[in-house]
Symmetry: C2
DNA sequence: ATAAAGGTTCCAGTTAGGGGAAGGTCAAGT
DNA sequence: ACTTGACCTTCCCCTAACTGGAACCTTTAT
């Protein structure tokens, strides 16, 4: 299977697939003409990667998860640890963003948004707090 | 005032302050020895930048906001527009992260996390859905 | 005199790819 | 047989917003 077909079937852009080969996440074979040749196994791995990335795992997380995925003797606790650590980061980010949102919402609500120059948003940004 | 003092008073690292000069957000003077000399006005601008960045505005947003801040004749609606656009992006990100969190939470809850290899997390990642 | 603490510039690296150039290959149509 | 267009290849530069480090200079304290 050529890279275009893999791209279609996994939903990943060809560029991304080549990148994943570059950093050693997949190792497709090569045809005589130099084209990459993907097997079902590669496709499966790439699908795995796409799904993990959708869930916000970093590439390094993906590398770890992929190794666990391929290790038939792994302990599920190892996987759970990675997932929980990632989950904690996501929750921290959500908390951060919510704080930003709350502050900004308040400021936006306070701003008249008309032709006059007076603006509570700028007033807040200009204060040291 | 030297960069170190400015760093202390604004909470921004010296590296960041130099970077902001590089990209033209502040233009401190120079002493005979080549050291940057910051005035109160620069300090004020940097504080503004620090606060705006804390609220997640991009550097380009900051550039816009700073220009509005310095323009005594701006319309508050211009500021409000930038803020609302940023707010929308923040809310989109929160929604994204919440979806990730919900999926991951579910998966983590389903995983025994023991010595056995069976793991719903990997099972999910491996499936095309 | 010397050493520590501060300042300077410049270069490289970070994430996870995206854009685009220059060129080789393959299948179809004329 | 030739050409066209779609596909593939490698290569290099670009992104955001800094951070780290090297090599070097200046000021301050001992």
């Amino acid at each position: 299977m050529n890279i275009g077909d893999v791209a279609t079937r996994t939903g990943l852009p060809p560029k991304t697939i080549r990148y994943y080969e570059d950093i050693g996440l997949v190792v497709p074979g090569r045809s005589d003409n130099g084209y990459r040749q993907f097997r079902e196994q590669d496709l499966h791995k790439l699908t795995f990667l796409g799904r993990a990335r959708t869930l916000g795992f970093t590439i390094e997380d993906c590398r770890t998860l992929l190794a666990l995925y391929e290790d038939e003797t792994r302990a599920s606790s190892d996987v759970k640890r990675v997932a929980k650590s990632h989950l904690a980061k996501i929750e921290a980010k959500i908390t951060d963003l919510q704080a930003m949102r709350d502050t900004l919402t308040h400021l936006v609500d306070c701003c008249a948004g008309d032709d006059r120059p007076d603006c509570p948003i700028l007033r807040d940004l200009g204060s040291s707090s």
